[in-house]
Chain length 68, copies 6
Amino acid sequence: MRISARNLLKGKIVEIVKGATTAHVRLDVAGTVVTASITNQAVDELGLVVGAEAYGVVKASDVMIAVD
Amino acid sequence: MRISARNLLKGKIVEIVKGATTAHVRLDVAGTVVTASITNQAVDELGLVVGAEAYGVVKASDVMIAVD
Amino acid sequence: MRISARNLLKGKIVEIVKGATTAHVRLDVAGTVVTASITNQAVDELGLVVGAEAYGVVKASDVMIAVD
Amino acid sequence: MRISARNLLKGKIVEIVKGATTAHVRLDVAGTVVTASITNQAVDELGLVVGAEAYGVVKASDVMIAVD
Amino acid sequence: MRISARNLLKGKIVEIVKGATTAHVRLDVAGTVVTASITNQAVDELGLVVGAEAYGVVKASDVMIAVD
Amino acid sequence: MRISARNLLKGKIVEIVKGATTAHVRLDVAGTVVTASITNQAVDELGLVVGAEAYGVVKASDVMIAVD
């Protein structure tokens, strides 16, 4: 499947914290930690585990720009 | 200003394309291009120019995870 | 590629309107028209054309519920 | 109230799972299950119950397009 | 129609700028200007005009918190 | 840090409810309660407490418009 989302950040899963319904998955992307808040169900269905390779996927309209 | 958004991706602006109301700003973040769709107004107000350092900012609930 | 987004709505593309930077793509999903606002670049890269099969993809945290 | 969101998906609630703060509501929309992640508070305030008719509401800028 | 979105900001429309596909609608909400980026189609369909009363509607998961 | 997000709503924190992974923070913004769903981690890192001044921050593409 190819998707319109413009941003695919390749990394390695470094942490998975499951809550009651919502999980936080953290990826190391070239030294920067990227946090994704997704459903527990998605974690299970994709078989996500610490150490696995994965992508953080972000739609361009969800990216803001900041400057110092 | 400090913000709750979990993801700050430091990079350099490599392209700014302004449309009628919406601009696409592309950052090089450690070799990966990150695209942000923001208002033309924000581009002007922040004084964004190609070559400048900037951050891509993404709320954790806007990050999905994909696997091959 | 498999993705954490919980919602995949299979349909057929019925309209593509390109703006200066942003395109609106409309899918017929079982008789309901679904509108996606994506980048022109994504339209070109995925080779989207009217009549083709495609999916509308939506993260669960982007779905609201309404009642009459 | 009429809203600018372009996507109203009419369906029937098939599951409500409440977490500590966040609930997952699943709708059957013409045979496809649509999952919404909303606040527990909204579930209570709207009086959502399994079997009731409801709409999944999605802003066009939150819809991505994917192809096989 | 009642909606799960937690944030309804009542205001008056002070500006509508239409682009090729995307419009920016600005509301005065108790002295603060709130900007919404919506489709031109929604502007037409809702009959939005400067001076009219309207609500800015935001899902709780789309609100970040910042501190000085 | 200055950010491209068009909407900064200045207010005072009136409630913080932490769930397992996700917190709901409520601000009083000129008499209107604004609810933000953010990570527990962000609440801790920003040192958010009831009574403190804070901003609700919203990207323009996450604001919808509704009319009665």
